[in-house]
Symmetry: D2
Subunit: 344 residues, 4 copies
């Protein structure tokens, strides 16, 4: 299978290149961007020297459809809503890592992303690719790959939301992310000197991943009215660490909660439950597509606390995109994703 | 005024040395420890070369009482409960940075610290030195300096606890700390390789600072039954970043909350409220005794979120100890604490 | 004494504010920049809240000369060569932290800085303010504060250069710096994700601090023909760590070298020599104006190795500028510089 | 092929596990240690959960020889000199990642490692496995895997040493390493708080990798009398960054040097030469077995500078060990080593 990557020079694009190098069934046919056209990507990123020496090309829909079988968008939000249309119209498979096709309502996109959505007809064709909950979907043509915070947050609470075990209005999600999540864009907030030895909080209850979390939660459980959601930056390169809180419903025991997690996640090999009240550390998933989850219950305050860790560039972006590709193409689900975490 | 420091080679002890160097009214008379006796402290810590060349001495109560006017304990918990007794019996002023005199009940100390408490008679003589809420107390002889997490957590919610504006059972405190908070003790958890690029959570609802937070909250508001409290390690050297959540009581508006913070903190110069919904970053207090606090309210979930940052070695240890010294000795409250944050 | 600061929002400007806050003889009269005019500096930098609430002003020479007694330029190179002229013409004291007045030749400036120098007449009025080697110079009106790499490199080898103990063509300087040295300018090279867990080398034998090092070395010893000089970035916020190598002249012993360092630095309290072949760590000077130096000699290869550490924002910028101010105004040399290193 | 790993819980042992997971020809038969016997390794290291669930076993020579075809020692120096003997006597293949079999003289081992060497008869059977310079050696039974600093230092200068292009007494090697190089052992020097924002230098001209570098250099060029060699710690987890300096011989041009590097490294796919005077960054090899090398020549000082970067746990330990395994077993040289660097 041949794939093309649009937006290859961003962090998610580079991670697609990195993971696909070890995918036994996939070859990268072309890499596309808007700058440095004609330059070999290994000249821009010397770490790729000898590994991927393709030249950067300007986006050309016909060429991409001729030379490859699927295209990844690893672009910032706002690009694929326009550039993907020609692919969609041609039923050419698209996996979009941006937020442009994740919401089913143009109003919601405008509200949370601050720009106009693509046409509703295209939004409706998109499948939200929360890969661990998706069955083989070889008929899908447009997959909206979930956001990094959304992936960790949804997987953090899915079993209790699905099984209706928590007070619906009690959800608090306190998410922390490393800097690669913010992308390559230069800003004061990503200057080394501002990040090192620092921690900051941003977009409180205003993060654009909130609506996709709510959509998924409500698809499972219509009673959840809203979530409290905040995002912080911690001085690490990769990784999302989500601490979720919720109150158990009356008469629900922690054992029921534990067994809901075990049941719902038992056939999902990329999700690993910690045993015996231990909690995951961020580093134990870095470099992989794993989601590690730990549970703790405080009977005094009747509070369930769930700690969830992922590598934002893999499970939160390129890895889940490949997981979606594997589902689409009916490849083994570990193809291109069979790695041991980089520890230490 | 002359002071002695017991436990000078730990991080809090070193920070006392650093801050007292700029205190116009205080001179360090002697430094005490259990190792390297007779060796100059500047030989162990070359950063002190030319600044403090005193030799380390073995603890000698008579000598300390003869040569100085007050003694700081910058020792791990478990030391002052025994070693301080002779000073207490002699009415010699003690400021204890450890947890040994913070709880008023021997049972509680045994439960949370896992070792026997000192005699209840001594516990009762101790004053909990939450310095921003203490008036000049020249008669105090034994001051229990608050814990780092406790200081940030209590100051985070004091106004709404005092003014009874929140649902008493709704408090969730999600605290993150840098590594210096764990002290100099060697452990796998403090090895650079385990901490760098990592984040981990520990002592969930079991941290020994919980009882002192509850004592203070209940002194202000007897209705608070319990708190949900977790502590995480982030890869920074200094700093505590506390995110607190609580539900507002029915009919309480966010404006009332804001005005409670303004009123209660207006005469406390070491507490700085952020304006206009902005939130503090960790680094903006490092190197100082400041506590910076930001507020955010989500009307959809009726959740108040408070972000509080301190330097754990200063406001959370040595700085608050000097603030307590200034109160005790009736010095200007900024003496030894008049610094601009180290930014960047 | 009243001072103004031009370029206050850069890292060196902020550090001037920080240090001058504790200077007993100096008051900041005005702060000047090119952006955010009219806005209080504490609104841009919340760490200054309650500490310096002056508004940013657009540069106005008459106002500065009227309201203050001296002006600091904490601007990038290329600014003071033009903006300082009016002060120079008026004999108004200027301490320039940029490179614009450090070289005595316009050709050299053009070559190393890649832009035209100011008029030679102004270059000639400038005094190179290597503060530890300067005597009280109350008559100076234009002080060119040395570069950060230059300060560490020159102090690293001054005694053997002055005493002519090394082979003149054998000097190799391998310098490493933290990221604050590169300033606030946004670039890919200063993005957190590019710096964290990384080390890179740049401007090999092309760094603009080379000519000022050579000027100073040749003023002491005309035989030095050139130096090998490289600069690397390491993932720390502050600090310069310089490793210098040189071959001893025939018949010169290491004891002679040691005694040259002791003699030449014995009356310079900001320079601390390590004892007994121990070497300084970077962190032992951070937050201070100290230069710590360690010596090692390898008889097998006849190589002297000198390790020198400074805080680039203090000794390498704002601190040395204040040291120059103290010399100029005949203040105590520790005024505004009397700090214990921030360790840990 | 089945292999066993002795010392699996150290950083090099864990890295062997990580890399071998993706080796198509190798299976891990058993993992051995001295602590936690009987416990599953995934209980000690949760990142291995679901990936390697073998129990830790106490060392048992017969069992190892029965169940596997080769044994790796990933132990600290001082272990294999005794524990490997039984394997050697049985002609059972050993790849030793420690320093115990790297030196050909017992006196030298005693001098540099400070403990007695194994019997000279065993030392003589060992092959120094500098893998890029070794041909397929299916007859070797005892391979001494090179040290991390040694690998980077030797590869840094091999072409000019082999081709005799530099002044033999002019070599200076300034090496910097991340903290994983020091291993898991707890010490003040590896405490996060001592490492973060710091840089320090240690073992100047006393590092135990010096003799193996000299042995290899002298095997190629008997004229090299000694090297100046220092090692520093920088705050990163993985990576070695070596800056080497040497003077060119009279009449040798930089072009000759460049062509020596190109010729000697052209058939070594794990060594990548940077083009056009660009220099490698540390991060561009992390996660891989690559050695990236950049060259710079300063005609004014006649100094060649070479910058070499490796991942100390891979090329400097586990990766080179697998490269040696591939040579021994005649596997494809990229087996288990076919990764794209983890960037960012």
């Amino acid at each position: 299978m041949k794939v093309s990557i649009i937006g290859v020079t961003g962090y998610s694009g580079l991670e697609l290149v990195r993971l696909l190098h070890n995918h036994p069934e996939v070859e990268i046919a072309g890499v596309y961007g808007t700058q440095n056209i004609g330059k070999k990507i290994s000249k821009i990123y010397p770490h790729l020297s000898g590994l991927l020496d393709l030249p950067l090309k300007a986006i050309n829909h016909s060429e991409i459809m001729a030379e490859s079988d699927l295209v990844f968008f690893a672009t910032p939000s706002g690009v694929s809503r326009e550039v993907a249309i020609q692919f969609i119209e041609n039923q050419f498979p698209v996996i979009d890592l941006s937020g442009d096709f994740r919401l089913n309502s143009a109003e919601s996109y405008q509200k949370w992303y601050g720009k106009p959505a693509t046409h509703a007809a295209y939004l409706n064709q998109a499948v939200y690719g929360l890969a661990d909950f998706v069955s083989k979907n070889s008929s899908a043509r447009l997959i909206a790959n979930p956001g990094c915070y959304a992936t960790a947050s949804i997987l953090s609470l899915a079993p209790v939301v699905i099984s209706d075990l928590i007070e619906p209005e009690s959800i608090i999600i306190d998410a922390k992310s490393g800097l690669s999540g913010a992308g390559k864009k230069l800003s004061e907030a990503s200057h080394y000197v501002e990040v090192n030895d620092n921690m900051s909080i941003y977009k409180i209850n205003q993060h654009q991943h909130i609506p996709e979390i709510m959509l998924q939660f409500n698809q499972w459980n219509t009673k959840i009215p809203a979530i409290q959601f905040s995002t912080s930056l911690i001085p690490v390169t990769r990784g999302i660490f989500v601490t979720s809180y919720a109150k158990l419903k009356p008469a629900v025991s922690f054992e029921e909660v534990e067994s809901a997690y075990q049941q719902i996640y038992q056939d999902k090999p990329f999700i690993r439950l910690m045993s015996n009240n231990t909690m995951p550390q961020l580093k134990q998933v870095i470099g992989t597509n794993y989601t590690d989850i730990g549970l703790s219950y405080n009977p005094v305050t009747n509070t369930l606390m769930v700690v969830t860790v992922i590598d934002n560039l893999i499970k939160g972006a390129a890895g889940q995109a490949i997981q979606n590709l594997n589902l689409l193409a009916d490849f083994d689900q570990f193809s291109g994703l069979d790695f041991v975490p980089v520890f230490p």
